[in-house]
Each structure stands twice: as structure tokens, then as C-alpha cells.
């Protein structure tokens, strides 16, 4: 796992300076603290910061093919590389390392971009073809590994993180108003936008190619949706058997590493299942790591302890106190590079530090199971709302709503009110975004804090319409559950869960996460399982629970879902943190950033401070406003907010001509 960066002049030779690539790589040192390497010619510069996991001795990048016409820098893992390598050896390819990186390069040499469909893993790749003068950038299917780019005067500047791109002084750093509208609707930007103007992400499942002065993009994979006719007719028992086998193999290949692999263990179904598969089949001494909270409402200690003793593993937990969550938010945001609406990323940021200090570089996590197996309340909510839409006045139907969010709506008095709250949009059951409408409308309320200036810049932009237009062929024919699942995976999974609660907060402390539930075979198999089995009645993740029966205690498979959350007000407005929160939300700071209406923000702060338990939406507003301010401060106003890391590359391949070396 690593960081990659580079510069490519698409019109031809124009010179690339060694120092720019060094600076770009320096900004990514947390992703790859072990060694760095650089390739330079007159048209391209590639940089790599390495976290050594496979082939510790000879895997330094950039890596080349036999005749040194192709050069690769690569961030990630392709777990099926031994099998792919066999084929390539038979075709006559010769290897000088034992890394998966070299396998990817030769596969590209053999098949071009089509090679991507054979990679089972998590990756961001840059390959430079010195003969064809083509730069090839690609990202894994669901976007586990990040890759950003900007195009400035026909020069592509790319990097694993935006700060690497910003280390080029000629790249401007501005907040994108449309991105703000998207974040305060969908919790994240819609791909390929980022919160920074003119900085884009390469969308998950896409590659980009530059050749003949042109940049082209292509989608090589999409989240699978199958119409009922193409779905499986297997009985649930057989489905569960196959799921078990697939997950076991997904775990097996994710333990491939030349360093020990640990597991996150929260006490929830998903991480417990993944850890149990490891312990039962591959490594009974696996180290596990988990988060505890002081606050009972968030803590899963009881279940975590149960799993630790059930699996008899060496477990380390981290207690995320309110103080430390609040105090770590600015550092966490430096890594997430986007405003957040929840504090959930912070404890994960803290946990990766514990993992690293325990001597581990790699952990398996349970992320992705909710998307693939149907764990989210939003899927159940959509089901209930559809049910309610048939008889909107039915009391008994409305009462189902209360069962969905017991941790938010714990007051029995709200029964009747909830009915009208969730009744919103019931006349729009044919709208493709029906399932997410309430969540998005509710989040949009935070836009009331936008400044006039920001509102004017957003203008008439309609994020819902953009989502509707972006839906793939086949979406309309899909069942309601698959539609909701598609939206959740396309919008929330990659950019929030795998990013702010995944790669970015783990790599902040040089830890690689591996996600067996997002194995491509698992995703495809589950897309062929009919919706009725995924959520049986209102029982979420039915198939996964059944599959784990026998390898997990009943108390874990039958426990009600408790979504991972972290305290907000208690974290951001306690004795230690209130001062910086108020300072970041002061009139002076707000007017400097120009994003929010100072009068309204002051009223929100006053309200949130006055009550013990602010409402969900006010809490989200508090995090959203504060994190936007801190992003502005760290990336627009005071960049770089961290000192430069000097880089001494272990490998520099310098093929620049004398003339252009002098210019650059």
C-alpha cells in the first residue's frame, strides 16, 4: 500500500522537475513511509512512496517490463496475483521482483486496459508507455484506493491525495460551491467532483488514458444489478453455503502478505464474521483491534468482549473519549480532505495509530457488508415507506417506522409524528431516488446556513437531477432494493465509507485495510440473489446472518444492528475543544471563508450549547460547518498546514534530455 503521484504533459515533451515530484511524494509519506522512487523523462514524472507489504526486499517502484518501455507506480494490492502470474510466465513474461505490481504491469502489456477486469483487489495505477507516449491511470471497481487529478494547461497532475496535487504552486486551491451543495445533500460529492474546484477524482471502476494530446475516460465496471430473470433460483440454504465458501476464499487471498495481517473487531456481525473466518481457517493467533467509547450509547464493548473470548484472540482496544475525538478532528480532516457530517471517521483515525504502534501494517475490516448484503436501515426504510404508500393512513403500517431507528427516535411520544415525517414523498414511489429522498432532504436542511455568496454561486444547480441522469441502463428494471443499493454504493460507499472511514484514516498512520466483503466475486454473487432473501421481512442481512450461523455466537448473529457512530456535541463542545470550535465558527473565521451565514451559525451554536442532546440534524450541521471551516483553513487559507517532508528516493530513473532538464 502506498502513495502515487505524477505529472504528464499530454502535448509532448515539456520538462518535469525532480523537485516537483519529490514534493508531491513528500506530501504522501504517511501512505508510504518505507521508501520512495521516481521516474522522469521529458514528458512524464512518476513518483511513489512505498509501504512494503509484498516483496519487502526488491519491490521498490517504479517497476518496468522486460524492455523498460513500460513503467508503473501503483498503490494497492491485487490479491489474485499468484494465479495471474502463472499465466504470464507461461506466455513468456520474465519477472525481476516477486511483487504483485510487476504482475499488473505485464498483464497490461499483454492485454491493455482489458486487464483491469481480471484484477481482484484494491488499487490505483499509473502506467507510462514510453513507446506510445500514453499515460494510463486506473482505479479499482468500488474505489477502495483513491486517485485524484487536475488538468492544467494540457498537463495532467495526479496523486493519491489532493494535498500532493496542491504541492504544485501553480494549482489553485478553491472550494467548489457545487461540491458544497452536493456534500450537504448526499454527505459527499458526486463523482468525479471533489470539494476543491477543478480537482477531480478518477471515478471508481474507471480508467483514463492520455494519448495524442487527448484525455479519454472509460468505465470498465459498474455496480452489478440484475433483473429478476437473471437472478439465481437457488434456495436460501444453498445461497448461504456458497456465500460462506466465497467469503472464506475472499479472506484467504486477503491474507497474502509478507507481513502479519490483523483484523478490526467491533463486535458487529461483519467484522466478527471476517475475524472468525480468519481464526477458524487460517490463523488462530490473529491480532484484533477495536474501538470503545466512554459513552454507553455508542459503545459496543459487551459484544466486542464476547467475540474476543469466543475467538480467544489477542485483542487491543482503544477508548475514544469525547476529548480526544474532538481534539483529533482537525488532523483527521487533513487526511480526509473533505467536510464531514459525522464524527465517525475520527475514532478510526485513532485506531489506525494503535494498529501501527502494535507493529501491524495490514488489517481486514468488515466494511462493505452492509452495502452488499443489505444491512442499512435506508433499505428497510424504503421498504416500509413503499408499504406505507399503499395505505398512507394506516396506523399499524406507520408503526413499523418506529422500529427502524430506535437509536434516534427513542421517544415513544413520536409515533404519530414519525408517520408524517416519513410520509414525505410517498406520492413519488416511482422516482428513482425514492429510497434516499428523506435522508437527502433532511441533510439539505443544513444548507440554510450557506452564505448568500455561496448560494448565488450554486445558483439553480439540482443535485437530484444529476443523480437521476447518471443512473445506468437497467436501473429502471431493477427491484426497489437493488435500486436503493445501487445509489448507496455509487454515492456513499466509495466517497465516504471507503474514504473518510476507510483508506484515508487508515493510511494516515500507514495502515492498509483489506475488505473481503467487497471481493468482486462476492459482490457479483450477491447481486444475483433476489432482494427478498437479503432483507427477509424487515430482518436485514438475512443471508449473511444465516451464513455465519455456527461460526459466530447466536448473540452476535441475532443482535439488532447498531450502526457505528461517534459522539458529536460532547466531542466538539467539551472543555478542551469548545474554544477551537467556537473560534473556527466565529464571525471573523466565517467571513474569511465566506461559506456560511455568521448570524445563523451563532444561533446554532447557542442552541446546541443550551441543550443536552441536540437533534440529529443540528448535530450534523455542527460537524458539517466546523469541518468545512477547518478544510478551508488547512487547504485554502494556510496550505500546506503541515511541514514538507524531505524525500531521499531509493531509486531515481532519470531519462530527461539535458536541454529539458535545465528548463525544468
Amino acid at each position: 500500500m502506498c502513495g502515487i503521484a505524477g505529472i504528464c504533459h499530454i502535448d509532448g515533451p515539456d520538462g518535469v522537475s525532480l523537485n516537483s515530484i519529490k514534493r508531491m511524494i513528500g506530501a504522501l509519506c504517511h501512505r508510504g513511509p518505507d521508501e520512495t522512487g521516481i521516474y522522469l523523462d521529458d514528458q512524464v514524472g512518476l513518483g511513489h512512496a512505498r509501504l512494503s507489504i509484498i516483496d519487502l526486499s526488491s519491490g521498490v517502484q517504479p517497476i518496468h517490463n522486460e524492455d523498460k518501455s513500460l513503467w508503473i507506480v501503483y498503490n494497492g494490492e491485487v490479491f489474485n496475483y499468484p494465479e495471474l502470474k502463472e499465466d504470464l510466465l507461461q506466455k513468456g513474461h520474465r519477472f525481476y521482483t516477486t511483487s504483485d505490481t510487476e504482475v499488473v504491469l505485464h498483464l497490461y502489456e499483454e492485454q491493455g486496459p482489458d486487464c483491469l477486469t481480471q484484477l481482484n483487489g484494491q488499487f490505483a495505477i499509473a502506467i507510462w508507455d514510453t513507446k506510445k507516449k500514453e499515460l494510463f491511470l486506473a482505479r479499482d471497481r468500488v474505489g477502495i484506493r483513491p486517485l485524484y487529478y487536475t488538468i492544467l494547461n494540457n498537463t495532467v497532475i495526479f496523486g493519491s491525495e489532493i494535498k500532493s496535487i496542491f504541492s504544485n504552486k501553480n494549482v489553485s486551491r478553491r472550494i467548489d460551491p457545487i461540491a458544497m451543495d452536493q456534500i450537504f445533500t448526499f454527505w459527499t460529492t458526486l463523482t468525479p467532483r471533489t470539494v476543491f474546484k477543478d480537482i477531480y477524482e478518477l471515478p471508481p471502476g474507471h480508467y483514463m488514458k492520455t494519448s495524442d494530446s487527448k484525455v479519454t475516460f472509460k468505465k470498465y465496471w459498474d455496480i452489478p444489478i440484475y433483473p429478476r430473470a437473471e437472478q439465481s433460483d437457488l434456495a436460501p440454504k444453498e445461497i448461504c453455503e456458497q456465500v460462506r465458501d466465497l467469503l472464506q476464499d475472499a479472506v484467504r487471498i486477503r491474507l497474502r502478505a509478507d507481513v502479519p495481517v490483523g483484523c478490526y473487531l467491533s463486535g458487529g456481525l461483519d467484522s466478527s464474521g471476517a475475524a472468525a473466518l480468519v481464526v477458524r481457517n487460517f490463523n488462530k493467533d490473529v491480532r484484533t483491534f477495536g474501538i470503545r467509547f466512554d459513552n454507553d450509547g455508542f459503545d459496543e464493548g459487551e459484544y466486542q468482549k464476547l467475540m474476543v473470548s469466543y475467538l480467544n484472540v489477542n485483542h487491543t482496544d482503544l477508548t475514544a473519549t469525547d476529548e480526544i475525538i474532538g481534539a483529533s478532528l482537525p488532523d483527521c480532516l487533513w487526511h480526509c480532505e473533505k467536510p464531514l457530517l459525522r464524527t465517525g471517521p475520527v475514532p478510526l483515525f485513532l485506531l489506525s495509530d494503535v494498529v501501527r504502534k502494535s507493529g501491524y501494517k495490514v488489517v481486514l475490516t468488515g466494511e462493505g457488508a452492509d452495502e452488499v448484503f443489505g444491512g442499512y436501515n435506508i433499505f428497510r426504510e424504503a421498504k416500509v415507506r413503499r408499504f406505507l404508500a399503499k395505505y398512507p393512513d394506516s396506523q399499524s403500517r406507520a408503526e413499523l417506522i418506529g422500529q427502524l431507528y430506535p437509536y434516534i427516535f427513542d421517544n415513544p411520544r413520536l409515533k404519530r409524528t414519525l408517520q408524517s415525517f416519513f410520509a414525505k414523498g410517498l406520492d413519488q414511489i416511482d422516482d428513482p431516488i425514492f429510497s434516499h429522498f428523506i435522508r437527502w432532504e433532511n441533510t439539505s436542511r443544513i444548507k440554510t446556513f450557506f452564505s448568500q455568496e455561496l448560494n448565488e454561486a450554486i445558483g439553480q444547480y439540482d443535485g437530484y437531477e444529476q443523480v437521476r441522469q447518471s443512473l445506468p441502463e437497467g436501473f429502471e428494471r431493477a427491484d426497489d432494493f437493488s435500486r436503493a443499493q445501487y445509489l448507496e454504493m455509487a454515492i456513499f460507499l466509495s466517497n465516504y465509507l471507503l474514504s473518510s472511514q476507510g483508506d484515508r484514516v487508515a493510511m494516515a498512520h500507514s495502515v492498509e485495510i483489506r475488505l473481503p466483503f467487497l471481493d468482486t466475486r462476492v459482490m457479483d454473487f450477491m447481486a444475483r440473489v433476489p432482494a427478498k432473501w437479503k432483507i427477509l421481512g424487515l430482518n436485514e442481512k438475512h443471508i449473511l446472518k444465516k451464513s455465519f450461523e455456527g461460526i459466530l455466537p447466536k448473540k452476535i448473529t441475532s443482535r439488532p444492528k447498531n450502526p457505528y457512530r461517534a459522539p458529536i456535541k460532547q466531542s466538539l463542545l467539551n472543555e478542551k475543544t469548545a474554544e477551537y470550535t467556537k473560534e473556527a465558527l466565529s464571525k471573523k473565521s466565517l467571513s474569511r471563508a465566506g461559506l456560511f451565514d455568521a448570524g445563523k451559525v451563532t444561533k446554532l451554536l447557542r442552541k446546541v450549547q443550551a441543550v443536552d442532546n441536540p437533534s440529529e440534524i443540528d448535530s450534523m450541521a455542527l460537524v458539517g460547518l466546523l469541518s468545512s471551516q477547518l478544510i478551508h483553513r488547512q487547504f485554502v487559507q494556510n496550505f500546506p498546514a503541515r511541514p514538507d517532508n524531505p524525500v531521499s528516493p531509493a531509486l531515481i530513473v532519470d531519462r530527461r534530455s539535458e536541454a529539458l532538464r535545465a528548463v525544468s
Binding site: 404519530r416 409524528t417 414519525l418 414525505k424 433532511n442 439539505s444 440554510t448 448570524g599 446554532l604 442552541k607
Partner: protein, 87 residues
């Protein structure tokens, strides 16, 4: 101060953060996304504190709570009803 003015001020201050221009007497809180279900509890707490009312669970319905107009009618009804009930 008139009862409905007090309620209006509370809603504008707490749910619209001072921006009351578009709030009409018959604006639906739910439909316009002004108050969500947890916000209703804040509102009820305010009504009980300010007007000395007791709001029963089955009174927590949109007919009573979903607009300034509905709340005003509800308060009137409650305030006028209670002495009679005690009598």
C-alpha cells in the same frame, strides 16, 4: 406578547436560525423541512414551558403541530379547555 408571536419567534430562532421571511402562518413544517420529528419534541417542550400546557401523546399530530396556524389553534383550545375541565 401575543401567543402566536411567541411561537413564531421560537420557530424562527430555533429552526430557521433567524431567517423567518418565508415562514407563513400556514407553512407546513414537515413539508418544508423546517422541523423534523425530533424537532417536534423541542417544540412541545417549549409549548409546555411557555404556556403551562401539557401535551398528550395522542395530540402530537400534524393537525396540532404542523404550522403556526395549527399550533395557535391548538394553544387556544388547550388554554380555553383547561379551566372548564377543572371546573
Amino acid at each position: 406578547m401575543d401567543n402566536s408571536v411567541k411561537v413564531r419567534e421560537f420557530v424562527v430562532e430555533n429552526f430557521l436560525f433567524g431567517d423567518g421571511e418565508k415562514l407563513k402562518d400556514d407553512t407546513s413544517f414537515m413539508e418544508e423541512g423546517i422541523i423534523d420529528s425530533t424537532g417536534i419534541l423541542e417544540l412541545v417542550f417549549f409549548l409546555e414551558e411557555t404556556f403551562g400546557l401539557s401535551v398528550e401523546d395522542d395530540e402530537l399530530v400534524p393537525d396540532n403541530m404542523d404550522s403556526l396556524q395549527n399550533i395557535a389553534r391548538f394553544i387556544d383550545r388547550k388554554l380555553n379547555a383547561s379551566p372548564a375541565a377543572e371546573a
